[in-house]
């Protein structure tokens, strides 16, 4: 009969039997060591647990920890049966094992059979809620074997213990200079300030605090501001105002107060960027480009007078004439940029005065007390040689000298008739006005036609409108309307009013008249009126002498 399996030979069955017997004997005499994957931990704990000092004390009793598969208990239940302290922690919120450990997952963190001296806790407990220790591992993430951190890196003795020696050991390697100085400054109490995340841990950023670091502050050692701080409250109590740290740096000796940032930045003390507009003295015009020390002599930053004379008194060309400050007239751009309104003064400028140069009136820089009388300036220009007094404005407008507004009618010689249109100098010869004679003859020479006849009272016969017509209202020995003359003087007085002729009229033809008078024996024909008084005819009737 062929065997169903080739191995079921006598030798094979014997070998199998011997193997089973050997294993059974080994298990019986070796204390089940044959089944052990490795020696148990033999390090004694702080105190006996479950009546033993170490697991190795039970190395022959696998069933102490390993419950059979058909039983109700798990291995973790047997762990907790001995490790009562852990069992208690599982039930207390503050317990080390609370919340993440249970009888079902002891082996997630703990191991055995790794040798007598091997640790019973895994090096990488990635799920342990380390934040419950008040030190989060965001900056020290455990990433498993070969990863960045293992539990024992920080807890070399045992997990429940921690020494900042661990911090120093690593951080001195990472940044020796900083770490050494940091330890000198703040001491070894790392956990007093650091919690691994929100308090000065990997996510700590000074820029997010109420005092972001800028400029030179970024280069400072922490202790420069946080001197002597040993815990978070002390760190947070660091001075935040400039003067609290920089009082000794104040080259202004406190004169500018304590708000350094008004002018300075954290970049450097130099190059202060004061916004002078925010001061009581905004810089305008040339002040904006002036050297700071020009006004702030010897770095005197406060108490600088804000009136012009505070700085410019030595530059006053007016020799202190004005009681008002310079800016009453001058703009801060430059001295020549004036905004003085003469119109607001006691002597508003009108006419040609508006175009006149200042020095034309204000000689030698004299402003205060400048006389306002015309003659004070125009005396040399007085063509009247003072005859009209000193009040030029009585006649002249300030536009030009020729702009005269003299009312002749208010004078002793009101202008009427043709006088109104006569040039002033027609009467006022040589520009002489005062004392001009008012008699007609002073200007009008007596004409030869009535020289010596009427005298010099022209107005007796003439009006100022025109010489003609003239009217004689005086006595006239001969009827003025003789022969219908109608007052036409030249009919009888063709060449002189001192003489007359009767031949001006066509009725008195000289030849005919001489013939008639010769017939009458009258030879003197030169004095007609002697005989014909009143214009009458022969005998003197004159009315009808022909």
């Amino acid at each position: 009969m062929t065997r169903p399996l080739g191995c079921l030979t006598g030798a094979g069955l014997l070998a199998g039997l011997l193997t089973a017997l050997t294993i059974g004997a080994s298990a019986a005499f070796g204390g089940n060591a044959l089944f052990s994957p490795g020696e148990l931990n033999a390090v004694a704990g702080e105190a006996p647990v479950g009546g033993i000092d170490s697991h190795a004390d039970r190395s022959q009793e696998c069933g102490q920890c390993h419950a059979p598969i058909w039983g109700d208990q798990r291995m973790g239940d047997r762990c907790l049966a001995c490790h009562q302290r852990v069992a208690d922690e599982l039930a207390v919120v503050s317990g080390f094992h609370y919340g993440y450990a249970s009888a079902g997952n002891c082996r997630d963190c703990h191991t055995e059979h790794q040798g007598p001296q091997a640790a019973l806790t895994l090096q990488e407990i990635v799920n342990y809620p380390h934040d419950r220790t008040r030190f989060m591992l965001l900056a020290h993430p455990p990433t498993g074997a070969g990863g960045a951190f293992r539990c024992m890196d920080c807890h070399p003795a045992r997990l429940g213990e921690f020494s900042t020696d661990s911090c120093e050991g690593c951080h001195k390697q990472l940044d020796p200079a900083y770490t050494v100085q940091h330890l000198i400054d703040f001491g070894p109490g790392c956990l007093e300030c650091h919690d691994g995340v929100d308090r000065y841990g990997v996510h700590f950023d000074h820029q997010n605090l109420v005092f972001p670091l800028e400029g030179v502050h970024l280069e400072l050692r922490c202790s420069a501001c946080h001197a002597g701080a040993r815990d978070v409250p002390a760190l947070q109590a660091a001075p935040a105002r400039c003067f609290e740290c920089h009082a000794s740096d104040d080259i202004h000796s406190g004169r500018l107060g304590q708000v350094c940032e008004s002018c300075h930045t954290p970049q450097t003390w130099e190059g202060a960027t004061l916004d002078h507009r925010l001061t009581a003295f905004p810089l305008l015009g040339s002040h904006a480009t002036a050297d700071c020390l020009g006004c702030h002599v010897e770095r005197q930053w406060s108490g600088i007078p804000r009136d012009c004379t505070g700085c410019h008194s030595q530059q006053d060309p007016h020799a202190g004439q004005f009681v008002r400050d310079c800016d009453a007239c001058h703009s801060p751009t430059q001295w020549s940029d004036l905004h003085f309104d003469h119109q607001q003064s006691t002597y508003p400028l009108v006419g040609a005065h508006r175009k006149a140069s200042c020095s034309g009136c204000h000689e030698n820089g004299r402003y205060v007390g400048t006389p306002t009388a015309c003659i004070a300036c125009h005396a040399a220009e007085d063509e009247h040689d003072g005859r009209f007094g000193q009040d030029c404005s009585a006649c002249h407008e300030p536009t030009t000298w020729d702009d005269v507004t003299f009312d002749h009618n208010l004078s002793r010689f009101p202008l009427t008739g043709a006088h109104r249109s006569t040039a002033c100098l027609g009467c006022h010869k040589g520009g002489s006005f005062a004392g001009t004679p008012t008699a007609c003859s002073a200007c009008h020479a007596e004409p030869g036609i009535h020289r010596g006849v009427f005298g010099l009272q022209c107005g007796s016969c003439h009006s100022t409108s025109a010489w003609l017509p003239a009217s004689w209202n005086g006595s006239h020995s001969f009827p003025m309307n003789h022969g219908g003359a109608g007052g036409q003087c030249s009919t009888c007085h063709p060449s002189s009013y001192g003489q007359y002729t009767c031949y001006g009229c066509h009725k008195h033809d000289p030849g005919d008249t001489e013939k008639k008078h010769r017939e009458e024996g009258i030879g003197n024909l030169s004095a007609c009126a002697d005989c014909h008084a009143g214009g009458r005819g022969e005998g003197g009737d004159g009315g009808d002498d022909d």
């Binding site: 080739g6 030979t9 070998a15 199998g16 011997l18 294993i23 044959l34 994957p37 390993h66 059979p68």
Partner: protein, 222 residues
């Protein structure tokens, strides 16, 4: 190449398993023997080794109801005989203590023994179904081949027949060589069996006890 295809496939499987194992190791460290992956390696490896022995042995004895060619079953036997022990080796997590270490050691010995036996096995002439040929049968086949080779029917211009002729010549040379060493080869195979089979039995007994212990202590499920 055709004769060692199972070795290439086994090598490929070992390479693939090695790559996966290396990846798992890189991610979470060496898979512990007591972990899910470690246990899986051990269980699958053990089943493959069990199949290595039982299936081929059963097929060898199933002459009346043959299922598959013996040569293919031998290839399967070799493939699982390499891959299975390799999985068991990985299951050990490179720790060789206690009974588990003994099992691993026996496994490796079985593999070495198996390789040795494979070459002893091929020294014994067999039919395509693996039936051991006796010397008389070999000589008869050689005679037939000689007659074929010497016949004038061979057409040298016919490539197909020429190839057949070449194969027939190679077969004749191997048979002649096997005839010369047939007696010693059969002695060697018998000796090998006397070592390999007890070793295998010891391994299976130890492995079963190891598995039973693991189940008893129930560290996987608990």
């Amino acid at each position: 190449m055709q004769g060692s295809r199972e070795l290439w496939l086994a090598g490929l499987a070992v390479a693939l398993i090695t790559a996966l194992y290396a990846g798992a190791t890189a991610l979470a460290g060496i898979p512990a023997a007591s972990g899910f992956l470690g246990h899986s390696l051990g269980v699958v490896g053990f089943l493959l080794m069990l199949a290595t022995e039982t299936l081929y042995s059963l097929r060898k004895r199933a002459i009346r109801r043959p299922w598959g060619r013996m040569r293919d079953w031998l290839r399967f036997h070799i493939f699982t005989g390499i891959v299975g022990p390799y999985l068991v080796l990985l299951h050990s997590a490179w720790e060789f203590r206690g009974l588990a270490g003994v099992v691993t050691l026996l496994t490796m010995l079985i593999v070495v023994s198996g390789f040795t036996g494979r070459y002893i096995y091929t020294a014994v002439p067999r039919t395509a179904d693996g039936i051991v040929l006796e010397a008389e049968a070999l000589r008869a086949e050689v005679a037939a081949l000689n007659a074929e080779l010497e016949s004038g029917d061979l057409n040298d211009a016919d490539r197909q027949r020429l190839a057949h002729r070449s194969a027939a010549e190679r077969r004749r040379r191997r048979l002649e060589r096997q005839i010369g060493s047939l007696a010693s080869a059969r002695r060697m195979l018998s000796l090998w069996h006397s070592v390999h089979i007890p070793l295998g039995m010891a391994l299976f007994v130890a492995a079963i006890i190891h598995a039973a212990g693991a189940l008893y202590y129930a560290t996987l499920l608990r």
